[in-house]
C-alpha cells in the first residue's frame, strides 16, 4: 500500500479547487443563515440547522491547503457526509428510501478515513461515491425545479438552487480527486512502469548497437570527451555512451575513480524513474568481426561478458518531411562532393 502520493504536496490547480470548495461550503452556510434569520413571510423554505455546520469544512479546507491532499480529503469526506446525515435523519421516517443516501455518506466517511491513513485506492472509491452523490442530488434538485416551474413558486426555485450548491461541491470534489497530484496511479500505468523497469533490468534486443565514435571514449582510450568532476567527488571523470536498442536507449557510463587506473562501466536506461545503479569493472576488451558486422566485446570480473554491435553514425538523419527551403538536388551534389562513392 503506497501512501506516498497522498502524502505529498499539491500544485496550484488542486489548491484552487479546494478554495472553490471552501467558497461553496461558505455559501451554503450563509444561505442557511439567511433562511433561518429571514421571516417565513419572505421565504417559506424549511431548512435544516445542521447545514450551518458547513462553516467547519470551509475553514478546515483553507487551513489545510498547504498540507498534503489527504488532509483536505479527510475533511471533506468526513464533514460533508456528517452534515448530510444530520439533515437526512428527520426525513428518514417520511421517505425510507433516503436511507441509501445515508449508506453512501457512510461509505464516503469510511473511504475518507481509509485514504487519510494511507490507502491510495480510496481516492478512486471517493470519486465513484462523489459522482453518485452528485447525480442523486442533481436528480433531487431537478425534480424540485420541475415542480417549481410548473407551480410557479419562487420559494421552491430558490430551494432548488440551494440544493444545487451541494451538487457544485461534489463536482469540485470530484475534479479535485482526479488531479494528477491526488489520484491513484492506474493499473495500466503500474503495468507499464513495471514492464519498463523489468526491461531496463533484464532485457535487450539482439540488434542493440553503439556508434563507432563512442567506442574509444567508452574504453578510456580517448578521454578528451570525458567529463571531469569536482575535486571532492570520488569519481574523477566519466563518459556516457548510448546503446541504441530500437526505441530504447541504454546508457553505458564509464567512470574512473580517484586513486584507480581501471575503468568501471555502469549500465542504465534512460527512463522517468532512476536506477540505483549496476555495473562491472572493465578488465579487458576486444573486437569481433562477425558476418553481420563488427562487435565490441567487454569482460569484467567473475565471468562477466558483454557483446555490443558497433555501427557507423549516419551522416544525415532520415526525415519524412522535407523543409520548404531544403533543396534535394543540392543535397545530393553535396554528398557526391564529400564522397564520390555516394554517386
Amino acid at each position: 500500500m503506497n501512501r506516498s502520493k497522498i502524502g505529498r504536496h499539491m500544485s496550484v490547480l488542486p489548491k484552487v479547487l479546494l478554495v472553490l470548495i471552501a467558497i461553496g461550503c461558505l455559501s451554503i452556510f450563509v444561505a442557511t443563515l439567511i433562511l433561518i434569520i429571514v421571516p417565513k413571510e419572505v421565504f417559506d423554505i424549511t431548512t435544516e440547522w445542521a447545514s450551518l455546520a458547513y462553516i467547519i469544512p470551509a475553514i478546515l479546507v483553507i487551513r489545510y491547503i498547504n498540507r498534503p491532499p489527504r488532509f483536505a480529503i479527510l475533511t471533506i469526506a468526513v464533514c460533508i457526509p456528517v452534515i448530510e446525515m444530520g439533515t437526512l435523519i428527520p426525513e428518514l421516517m417520511e421517505a425510507p428510501g433516503m436511507a441509501i443516501l445515508f449508506f453512501m455518506d457512510l461509505v464516503m466517511m469510511v473511504s475518507g478515513i481509509h485514504c487519510f491513513i494511507g490507502d491510495e485506492h480510496s481516492v478512486t472509491r471517493l470519486i465513484y461515491v462523489s459522482i453518485t452523490m452528485m447525480i442523486l442530488n442533481l436528480a433531487a434538485s431537478f425534480m424540485i425545479l420541475i415542480i417549481a416551474i410548473f407551480s410557479l413558486e419562487v420559494d421552491l426555485m430558490l430551494l432548488a438552487v440551494y440544493n444545487l450548491s451541494s451538487v457544485f461541491i461534489y463536482l469540485l470534489f470530484t475534479l479535485f480527486l482526479i488531479q494528477r497530484d491526488v489520484r491513484e496511479e492506474s493499473m495500466g500505468s503500474k503495468l507499464r512502469g513495471g514492464i519498463e523497469a523489468t526491461d531496463a533490468l533484464l532485457s535487450s534486443g539482439p540488434g542493440a548497437y553503439i556508434y563507432t565514435e563512442e567506442v574509444y571514449p567508452l574504453l578510456g582510450m580517448d578521454m578528451s570527451k570525458w567529463y571531469v568532476t569536482g575535486l571532492d567527488c570520488p569519481i574523477e571523470a566519466l563518459y556516457t555512451a548510448t546503446v541504441h536498442d530500437g526505441k530504447r536507449s541504454l546508457l553505458l557510463t564509464s567512470k574512473k575513480w580517484r586513486g584507480e587506473n581501471r575503468i568501471r562501466i555502469s549500465v542504465d536506461e534512460d527512463l522517468k524513474t532512476r536506477p540505483y545503479g549496476t555495473g562491472f569493472p572493465l578488465n579487458y576488451h576486444s573486437f569481433e568481426q562477425a558476418s553481420e558486422g563488427l562487435y565490441l566485446r567487454l569482460y569484467g570480473d567473475e565471468g562477466f561478458f558483454m557483446r555490443i554491435r558497433i555501427k557507423d553514425k549516419p551522416k544525415v538523419e532520415t526525415r519524412f518531411f522535407v523543409a520548404a527551403d531544403f533543396d534535394l538536388y543540392e543535397w545530393e551534389e553535396q554528398l557526391i562532393e564529400e564522397d564520390p562513392q555516394n554517386d
Partner: protein, 311 residues
C-alpha cells in the same frame, strides 16, 4: 499502522455481513413464501432456500475463502432475481416484458460471473461490478419513486424495506469487489503486483527522498538508528524507507565486520527478503539538500532529504 491493519479486516467483516444479510433476507422471503403468499412458485421457493443455506455457509466458512463466498453470494442473488423475473414474465404487455427480459439476462450474468468466483478464481470482476451497479440503480430508482406501480408498472409490488435491503446487498457486493484483495486477485492484478515489486526494488522516482535523521546516520555510519546486533558477519544494521511519488522501497543497511562499505538490501516490502536488489555503497556524500551514494559496483544514486519521510 494499527489503523491500516484494522482496515485489512474490513473485507472479512463485509463478508460476514454478506452472509448475515443473505441468511436474514432469504429466511424472511421463505417465511413470506410459506405463510403469506398464495401458491408461491416452486422456483422462487427453491431460490430462497438456496439463498438461506448460502448465507449460513458464508457465515461459517467466509473467513477461510472469501473469493468463493463472494461467488456463492453472487450466484444466490442472481438466482433469486432470475426466479422472480421469470415468474412474473408475461408477454401480454411488451414494454414490461422487455424490461423483465433485460433483468433476467442481468441475473444470468450475475450467476455466470459468480460461478467463476466459486471456482476460486477472480475473473470477470468488471462484468460482475457493472451488473451489480445496474441492479442496484434499478432498486434505487424504485426507492426514489417509493416503489409506486403507477410510475413504474413493470415491477411487481415489493415493499420498500425489502427493496432497500436488496439495494444494500448489491452495494455490499460492489464494495467487496473493490477491496484490494479482489482487485489484485485478477490475473492483471497479480502481474502488476510482481512487476511493481521489481520496479520498487530496482528503480526510484525522481523525487525519491529519505528522512534527514537517516541521512545523518548513513553519513556518519553511526547513530541511534544503527542497531549493533553483532549477527555473524554483520557488525551493525539499520532499516529505513526511500519514498517517492509512486514508489516506496524498504532498505536494510548493514556494515559488515572488516568491510569498508555499507551494504544495502533494497526490497519493495518489509518482512521476508529473498529477491532483492543488493548493492554496496563505498562513499556517501551530502551535496546540499541531497545525499549522493557511490559504489564501485556501479551504484550511483541521489536521494533528497525530507522531514516528511519515515525513518
Amino acid at each position: 499502522m494499527r489503523a491500516l491493519k484494522a482496515f485489512k479486516i474490513l473485507p472479512y467483516a463485509l463478508g460476514m455481513a454478506m452472509g448475515i444479510l443473505l441468511l436474514a433476507y432469504g429466511g424472511y422471503l421463505l417465511y413470506k413464501d410459506v405463510y403469506v403468499s398464495i401458491e408461491p412458485s416452486s422456483l422462487i421457493v427453491i431460490a430462497h432456500i438456496i439463498m438461506t443455506i448460502s448465507g449460513l455457509f458464508i457465515i461459517i466458512v467466509g473467513r477461510r475463502d472469501l473469493i468463493r463466498c463472494i461467488g456463492l453470494y453472487a450466484v444466490s442473488l442472481g438466482l433469486s432475481r432470475f426466479a422472480l423475473r421469470l415468474d412474473i414474465l408475461d408477454f401480454d404487455d411488451m414494454v414490461p416484458a422487455a424490461i423483465n427480459c433485460v433483468m433476467i439476462l442481468l441475473a444470468i450474468n450475475l450467476m455466470y460471473t459468480g460461478a467463476s468466483f466459486c471456482m476460486g478464481r477472480v475473473i470477470r470482476r468488471l462484468s460482475m461490478s457493472i451488473t451489480s451497479i445496474i441492479l442496484a440503480m434499478i432498486d434505487l430508482l424504485m426507492l426514489v419513486t417509493d416503489g409506486s406501480q403507477s410510475i413504474l408498472p413493470f415491477t411487481p409490488y415489493i415493499d420498500t424495506n425489502t427493496r432497500f435491503v436488496e439495494c444494500i446487498m448489491y452495494l455490499v457486493l460492489l464494495i467487496l469487489l473493490d477491496t484490494e484483495f479482489i482487485r489484485y486477485g485478477t490475473s492483471e492484478g497479480r502481474i502488476v503486483t510482481h512487476l511493481t515489486r521489481i520496479r520498487e526494488n530496482y528503480r526510484m522516482d525522481d523525487d525519491a527522498h529519505i528522512n534527514p535523521i537517516v541521512a545523518e546516520n548513513l553519513l556518519n555510519r553511526d547513530g541511534n538508528l544503527w542497531i549493533r546486533n553483532n549477527d555473524g558477519p554483520v557488525d551493525r544494521e539499520m532499516t529505513f524507507t526511500i519514498t517517492g511519488n509512486t514508489m516506496e522501497a524498504n532498505v536494510t543497511a548493514q556494515i559488515w565486520k572488516g568491510h569498508d562499505g555499507i551494504y544495502l538490501t533494497i526490497s519493495s516490502n518489509p518482512g521476508s527478503i529473498i529477491h532483492a536488489n543488493r548493492i554496496k555503497v563505498d562513499v556517501v556524500r551530502r551535496e546540499g539538500n541531497v545525499l549522493h551514494m557511490y559504489g564501485k559496483d556501479g551504484t550511483d544514486f541521489i536521494v533528497g532529504l525530507s522531514k516528511g519521510a519515515r525513518s
